[in-house]
């Protein structure tokens, strides 16, 4: 199974629907300070089932909804879709025969988050398990947020051992 793209709508500074393709090899994301690069990385973790608003730099999960600018009003809904292709039919068992899988997370002001896999509502836990079965996920060592690389060095040895469980 392979990751194909991420679609963001109303997520932080991405107001209108933006599609970010996930392609082979090395893809660089560049741009000035504050333009939205880390927001894209966070949108991936958020859709994978991140539960900590603090790890997304907010105080509440609604902080990910576009909150408006001097010239644009805020939105009420934020949505991120991760699209995967399954041509090789090798995904987790219940998805083995499905060629295209869209995992969606959507948050609405005062109504909390909802998760969907191919438009069917699921629990947060199902989304998290789906990505864990692919050896990835919001807390996978393969996703390193800005400023996070030093934490491995300053971590307590017992916390650091947790990274081994990702290899097991």
């Amino acid at each position: 199974m392979e990751f194909k793209k991420i679609q963001l709508t109303g997520f932080k500074s991405f107001v209108e629907k933006t599609t970010f393709l996930i392609e082979h090899g090395l893809t660089g994301i560049v741009g000035p300070n504050g333009c939205g690069k880390s927001n894209i990385v966070e949108s991936l973790r958020w859709c994978m089932g991140e539960t900590s608003a603090k790890s997304m730099r907010g105080s509440g999960m609604e902080d990910v909804i576009f909150s408006g600018t001097a010239n644009k009003p805020s939105k009420n809904i934020a949505e991120v879709i991760i699209s995967l292709g399954n041509i090789e039919k090798d995904g987790p068992i219940q998805f083995r025969d499905i060629e295209k899988i869209d995992v969606k997370r959507r948050i609405e002001k005062d109504k909390g988050s909802k998760y969907f896999i191919n438009e069917k509502e699921v629990r947060a836990r199902d989304a998290q398990t789906f990505f864990a079965d692919l050896s990835t996920g919001a807390h996978s060592p393969s996703i390193i947020g800005q400023g996070r690389i030093g934490t491995l060095v300053t971590a307590k040895p017992s916390d650091r051992r947790a990274i081994l469980e990702e290899a097991a």
Binding site: E2, F3, K12, S13, V15, T18, T19, F20, I22, E23, H24, G25, L26, T27, G28, I29, V30, G31, P32, G34, C35, G36, K37, S38, N39, I40, V41, L44, G68, T69, A70, N71, K72, L134, S135, T136, S140, P141, S142, I143, I144, Q146, G147, R148, I149, G150, L152, V153, T154, K156, P157, S158, R160, R161, I163, L164, E165, E166, A167, A168
Partner: protein
């Protein structure tokens, strides 16, 4: 449970030394389980020395050395159980040019070994030059992000 963790530990330990010596162009690195006989309760220690330097607490290492040491462990785990994607947000920020080059060479090697798709956020011109493609994010309307495909030569203007 315990056996799988010990087996993972030994694989990761081998890879840790391999990656470390690539990133540091020498030196020595190994992992150790400490504080408990039971691997599920133990702590994980990194015992490293950059080329020519003596083994010391990793906290005494420089900012760049700590980043490379952490990356060595992360990639060692990654090589033991590859993910389909790997997103790295400005991990090259504390590195000097020679280390950025070694870091990029390692990325190119990892792409060949695993079929992982790498997404690298960076401000470093050297890193940009090693990418297969670049996407730029700008804010033509303040506070609203816009994604554009970038010509590798045009990259410098975008970052400034």
């Amino acid at each position: 449970g315990r056996e799988r963790l010990i087996e993972a530990f030994e694989k990761v330990n081998r890879k840790f030394n391999e990656v470390y010596t690539k990133l540091f162009n020498g030196g020595n690195a190994k992992l150790e389980l400490v504080d408990s006989e039971d691997p599920l309760e133990a702590g994980l220690e990194m015992l490293v020395s950059p080329p020519g330097k003596r083994l010391q607490s990793i906290t005494l290492l420089s900012g760049g050395e700590q980043a490379l040491t952490a990356l060595s462990l992360i990639f060692a785990v990654f090589l033991t159980n590859p993910s389909p994607i790997c997103f790295l947000d400005e991990v090259d920020a504390p590195l000097d040019d020679a280390n950025v080059t070694r870091f990029c060479n390692l990325l190119e090697e990892l792409v060949k070994i695993t079929r992982t798709k790498f997404i690298i956020v960076t401000h470093h011109a050297l890193t940009m030059s090693k990418m297969n493609r670049l996407y730029g994010i700008t804010m033509p309307e303040k506070g609203v992000s816009q994604l554009v495909a970038v010509d590798l030569e045009k990259a410098e203007e975008l970052v400034a």
